[in-house]
Every structure is written in structure tokens, then in C-alpha cells.
Symmetry: C2
Amino acid sequence: MENKRPVILVTNDDGITAPGIQNLAYLMKELGDVVIVAPDSPQSAMGHAITIAKPLRLEQVDLYDGIASYQCSGTPVDCVKLAVNKVLHRKPDLLVSGINHGSNSSINVIYSGTMSAAMEGAIEGIPSIGFSLGDFSHDANFIPVQKYVLEIARQVLANGLPQGSLLNVNFPAVASFEELQGIRICRQAVAKWQEEFDERVDPHKRKYYWLTGEFTLNDPGEDTDEWALNNNYVSVVPVQFDLTAYHAIQVLNSWKFNL
Amino acid sequence: MENKRPVILVTNDDGITAPGIQNLAYLMKELGDVVIVAPDSPQSAMGHAITIAKPLRLEQVDLYDGIASYQCSGTPVDCVKLAVNKVLHRKPDLLVSGINHGSNSSINVIYSGTMSAAMEGAIEGIPSIGFSLGDFSHDANFIPVQKYVLEIARQVLANGLPQGSLLNVNFPAVASFEELQGIRICRQAVAKWQEEFDERVDPHKRKYYWLTGEFTLNDPGEDTDEWALNNNYVSVVPVQFDLTAYHAIQVLNSWKFNL
């Protein structure tokens, strides 16, 4: 019986040269044959955007030792579509996205390019995981979380994932492995961004706005990703792409429409 | 007791000059005071993208009789954030997005800029509806669906929506009101896009790719939006932004992680 090494697709939204994807790709080499297809420039906060109004470029690059790497001009979702159709010509056995420089916990999952790449993988039937670290800086320390990344990826390769789901894995920013308290399977916390726009005037006297905001947690639950991260746990939220609010169907069916 | 007219925010992803938003805005004038904040250019398939790496422009324009209108350089989600914070300085009583030129049923909800604007409204606690018509053409016929748009908006204004949900309303492309069979409250059908990339070579001998694909329905259910639309019903899917796959939590809790 042949025991072939799994094919692992690695992508992200911070761009192909980000330290987070470098860390992730080298870790995945321990588990299988790794191919990187990632954006040629940062694509944070791109949500589930795809590129339909302009053509895409895809170029092989020599960035990482012993890892076939391709950079793409499109969004993270474009990268996944191109990887499956034009690079691998098959579904990979695992898709991992990240490690994102910055948290994608709670409502951030909606805006995240990292998670949209993983969601696209799941839609295509690929076991998919998004990894994110709660530190936005370029020189974020990924070493404390390496064992967790490997073990979670190993489990997904071994067990698959429940139908229609993917994983949103977030790590607290810590200085050492020992600080991490273990893994918690969580639900997405109820939270939102309280927007503020920084209003400025350009040299031509026209106004412009920078989007800023404050993260606001509205959820005291201890089963949430935010609670886990605030207590130095690694949060694992199973995520789905069936967005139907089933609890609302009965309510809507009671409405009397006058047409 | 004061009976003030509701404030209704209108946005879309096809751009502020699209016939779909014009139709929607004039219809909403029957129900309240309308303000348009919409992209200055088409933003289809932008998913839940937001603009953080460059500043945003917001400009009042005189496009529609008796309707305060603002065009924004950003994505549909940016439009909603700017509308609430810099135009209205309050939450509107209703947010409507569309009417999209093209369907946003089933998996398309994930990629849709129309629906991401409505989802952003819901995250901010605004009763929100995305409307889409299954006809991509610029001169799509919105007349047959007008009564439905008005009645659904009226019901949402009167009843609100269940906590954490918004509505994804899709219309089949029909020639007359009489062809429509009524409203069906539905779940999101299981479907995906089977991608194909149209590979070409530019005058400089470099390859480029156009994203194309075929819509593939994998769901024989008669309670889905696809079934409703294929049978000339108006589909109404309640959508949520809590993406937690609750059914998967128990499975993941049974995994033994070795750390």
C-alpha cells in the first residue's frame, strides 16, 4: 500500500514575502509536499473579494528553499482558485492560510483575507485552516506557536473536517510556548468595530478619510474565541459558509405579505 | 405622538449610477427619507472588503431628484461605514442594498458586494436587506419586482429582523409582475462555481488569466433559494454573520491534541 506524502497548499493575505507565510510553509514541509500560491502584495481586509474586471498574473518565484512558490496579482481567493486549477491541477489534501500578522478572531473573520482563502478552500471541498497571530508587526514572534500549528494541521490531515466547515485558529501573542494554556474549541464572540474616520484635507483642499476604529467586545461568554485568547489559550472556531440564519426562518414565515 | 418618516440608507455594489440603485432609491421614497451613499465605480464581487491601505473620498453628487446622494471611492462596506459616521451621524432605520444586476443566491452571497453592504448594516444593528435580480444586463427590467421590493422593505420597517440576521432577497428575471409566484422563505442552496481560467498571452509574450466558471448546483432540496428562483418565486434567505459551525464543535472537542 502506497503511503504518499500529502500535497499542502499554503497561502495568505499579507503577501508572499511575509514572515508569517514563510513560517507556515517551512512548518508544513514536515507534513507533506508544499506549494505556495500567494498574493504578490498585501491583501489584508479583502474579505471574500475575487477579481473579475481585470486579468490575473501568476508567476513562479524562487523565494523559499525546496518549496514551489507562485505569486499572484489577485486576492487570496483568486490565489486558491488559480492554485487548484492552474498550478496543482488537483485538490490539495490540505489548505493552510496565514500565519496572519494580526488577529482574525470574532467579527474579524468577516473582513479577513486570510480566512476568505481558507473558506474558498472549504467551498471547493479541501480541508482548510486559517492561522492568525494577535500581533500586527512585521517581526511578530511565531516560534511559540509552531507546535500548535503543526499539531492542528496534523489532526486535520488525519481526521478531515466536518462537512461544510473550516477552522479559524487564532493565537495570542506570547513570548514562549510555555505561556500558552492549550487549545479551546470556541464559538465566534459577538463583537464589532466602532468606526471612527480620521478626516483630513489634502493640499488641493479636498477632504479625505482614513478608516480607523475601536474593537468592541459585547459578549461575556467564556466559550468564545475572545475569552480564550484573553486567557492565553489557542482558539479554534469551526466556521461555515452556509450563512442561512435558520433560527429566523420560522419568524419570517409568520409574516403576512400583501402583494 | 410624533410619527416621523424613517431614514433609509440606500447603497449597492454596481456603482451609484446603476439603474438598479436608481430604481431602489425612488421606491424607498414612498417609505421614508432616502439617502444614497454608494461606490463611484462598480465594486461587484468585492466580498466584505474594506479599505485600510489608502484614504477614502466622499463627495456629494446631484444625480437623483430629491434624494441626497454621495459617492464614495471605496467598497460597499466602506460606503456603509462612512454613511453612518460621516453622512447620517446616526443609524438609519433601514438599509437597502441593490438592486443588484445579477443573482446573489446560494454561494454567491459569499462573494457579493451587495450582500456585504447589507451584512455590514446588520453588524451595526441596522435592519438590512440586499436585493438582487437574476439579470446581469445594464437594461435589466426592474418593473416586475417593484411591488415586492416595497412590501418586503415595509415589513422589515414594521417588524424589524430577528437578532443577528439580515435578508438576502433574490428575484428571477421575468417580463411581468404576474409571472412571479409569490415569496418563499428559503435556505441557501448548496452550490459552487466550477472555475475555469481563460489563459491568454499578452503582446509581450506573458501569460495572463481571466476568471470564468460555471455555476454548479449540488442540492435537490425544494426549500432552497435556487429552487424558488427556478420556479419563479421571490427567494428570501435570512443570513447571519455568526459564522460558527456549531455542529462541528462537538466533533472537534473529541480530538486528542498532542502538545
